[in-house]
């Protein structure tokens, strides 16, 4: 084995190495935190989707996010119900209405989901137990994790009081509680039957729905049906996703069409740039300090390529040993942040790999900038 010059060069100066590692770890933790918060917020925006009981999901082609969905004709949904392998289809109506705070009398926008109570469309604690109640006229289920601005609904309900208020000017009664939680789109949620939904939104055409749930018979090839539907519905006004596709579709909206995705992406880029600057500083100083030594190596007959290799190896070594402590540090910070904010913030393989690749690119980029200095190592100068 040849002498590992890059490693020896790095490890020879312990303080500088420590500073380099600390710098890269810092940049990595910065990126991890930005990505962590971003993912956590996106995860919260798909909370509702994750509770959907279905195999395939139909949305309007115009629809970017269920929080602001476009509607489509329910005939599109029922039109495919006869396809072999499909057990049933059921629509969801989504809308936002003014909820009157029963204590203060002011109103706030609340998300309303209208589902067919014959199917367990939403696998949410509290919904299944109370599904019979929403069959009654003007009875809704209230999200106990809604913001407090809607009034002390959950407390009152749990104390056995009859909670009555107005939604869009129509008197309703709270028949039960469930736990979903807020997201970017919704400060609070209520669930009711499709019939009650249309009572709350008298101007809405019952034929236009926001989402269609497609439940397949057990043992049916989901991907095959998805392909069939996608081919059948091509150029149409609806699109069909499987669960993963639906989540990606929803997240993509928040990532690319809203400032939220941009802000955190920007934060990640900042961390990335900070990392480049730090690694560049370290590598540049390293090259500058060892210029006579590198020139000597050139005079002895070492090629420019060899020296480029040394600098890039240093970059990669720094990337790896700076990355490792950042993972454990990040997990600690995620734990603290999750406790403090209630956001589902946690380490994932995707984030770990993303940041590792970014660190590699970061160090390679710094290496590429600092090798410019290598060219000034002129062997003719050292005699």
């Amino acid at each position: 084995m040849k002498i590992p010059l890059s490693w020896l060069q790095l490890s020879h100066e312990k303080v500088r190495l420590f500073v380099a590692i600390a710098g890269i770890t810092f940049a990595d933790v910065l990126m991890f935190m930005q990505l962590g918060f971003r993912d956590a917020l996106f995860d919260s925006s798909t909370k509702m989707h994750k509770t959907l009981e279905g195999d395939l999901f139909m949305l309007s082609s115009q629809s970017d996010s269920t929080a602001f969905s476009s509607r489509f004709s329910r005939r599109r949904l029922y039109g495919i119900a006869g396809i072999k392998g499909i057990e049933y289809v059921t629509p969801i109506y989504i809308g936002s209405a003014d909820w009157k705070n029963p204590e203060l009398g002011n109103t706030r926008r609340i998300f309303v989901y209208g589902i067919n109570p014959l199917y367990s469309t939403l696998k949410l604690p509290g919904v299944e137990q109370n599904i019979e109640k929403i069959k009654f006229p003007d009875v809704v289920l209230f999200d106990r994790l809604s913001r407090l601005d809607f009034g002390p609904i959950a407390q009152n309900y749990q104390q056995g009081k009859t909670v009555v208020t107005e939604v869009s000017g129509r008197k309703i009664r709270v028949g039960g509680l469930f736990s979903l939680g807020t997201s970017f789109g919704a400060d609070g949620n209520i669930i009711t039957s499709d019939i009650n939904f249309l009572r709350l939104f008298p101007n809405r055409d019952p034929g236009l729905i926001d989402m269609g749930i497609i439940k397949l018979e057990p043992g049916v090839d989901r991907d095959l049906i998805l392909k069939t539907l996608q081919t059948k519905l091509v150029d149409g006004d609806v699109q069909v996703f499987d669960f993963d596709g639906l989540i990606v579709h929803e997240k993509k909206y928040w990532q690319t069409r809203t400032a939220v995705g941009f802000v955190f992406t920007l934060g990640t880029i900042m961390g990335f740039i900070v990392g480049i600057v730090i690694v560049y500083q370290i590598l540049y100083t390293d090259v500058a300090d060892h210029l006579p030594e590198y020139a000597t190596l050139k005079a002895m007959g070492y090629t420019d390529l060899y020296l480029l290799g040394v600098v890039f190896q240093e970059a990669i070594i720094l990337a790896i040993i700076g990355y490792l402590p950042s993972v454990s540090l990040t997990m600690l910070l995620y734990f603290g942040a999750a406790n403090a904010t209630g956001l589902p913030i946690a380490m994932s393989a995707t984030k770990a790999i993303t940041v590792f690749v970014l660190t590699g690119v970061m160090c390679a980029a710094s290496g590429a900038i600092s090798v410019g200095k290598l060219r000034t190592a002129d062997p003719a100068d050292i005699f």
Binding site: L5, T296, A299, M300, G301, F383
Partner: protein
């Protein structure tokens, strides 16, 4: 011009310029010089006389411009970078500053030179480096870092590094400049002894009059011209 086997360096009408346009300045004027195999030659001359420029040209560290410069049978005028790098590997360099790599031990520094010639296993290279360090009297300093060596010891490591690959040509620039007279004397005597054993040709640029006696021949540079080319009196 035909290359003869025992001629290590053949220089004919070599001139060299620095700068461009009106700033262009001639540094070397029609240098003619032949160094034979096994010769120890000292080049003297005041600062700015062009002797270091000549040394860097011979060492393939700088591209020669006109005339003819043959080193180890290779014409360097008009040659490309890759050939220059190849020539460098056949030459042992000893610099004024020792220019050892601070992050490597004495043995590793010597080994860096062996590794350029890709034919030894790492164990062989290690053994050879240690043997060379023993030959320069540093058998007990093998795993020392340059930081912990004296000036004379560092220069001896540099000699070991320059000679470990048995180069036919050794170029030394003021090898004793940073040393006291005793260490300086030791260093040149080691160089002389090893070069004789290996049959290497040595070209030393120096101001140090105390070491002139080791030379077979003394050259004197002045204002870019090779003035005298004489044999020293036997001392």
């Amino acid at each position: 011009m035909k290359h003869q086997k025992n001629e290590v360096i053949v220089i004919r009408n070599l001139s060299h310029f620095f700068g461009e346009g009106i700033l262009r300045k001639q540094i070397l004027f029609n240098i003619n010089l032949t160094l034979k195999s096994g010769e120890i030659v000292i080049m003297k001359g005041p600062s700015g006389s062009g002797k270091t420029t000549l040394l860097t040209l011979i060492g393939a560290l700088r591209s020669p411009q006109s005339g003819s410069l043959q080193v180890l049978g290779q014409e360097l005028v008009g040659t490309n970078r890759r050939k220059m790098v190849k020539i460098r590997r056949q030459i042992g360099y000893i610099f004024q500053g020792h220019n050892l790599l601070e992050c490597l031990t004495a043995r590793q520094n010597v080994q860096m030179s062996i590794e350029l010639h890709n034919n030894l296993s790492s164990e062989e290279a290690k053994q050879k480096s240690i043997a060379m360090l023993e030959a320069v009297g540093l058998g007990d300093r093998v795993e020392y870092y340059p930081h912990n060596l004296s000036g004379g010891e560092k220069q001896r490591v540099a000699i070991a590094r320059a000679l470990v690959s048995h180069p036919q040509l050794v170029l030394a620039d003021e090898p004793t400049a940073a040393l006291d007279s005793k260490s300086g004397r030791d260093v040149v005597e080691i160089m002389q002894r090893l070069a004789k054993e290996l049959g290497s040709t040595i070209l030393i640029v120096t101001h140090d009059n105390r070491i002139l006696d080791i030379a077979d021949r003394i050259l004197e540079m002045e204002d870019g011209r090779l003035r005298v080319n004489h044999i020293p009196k036997a001392s």
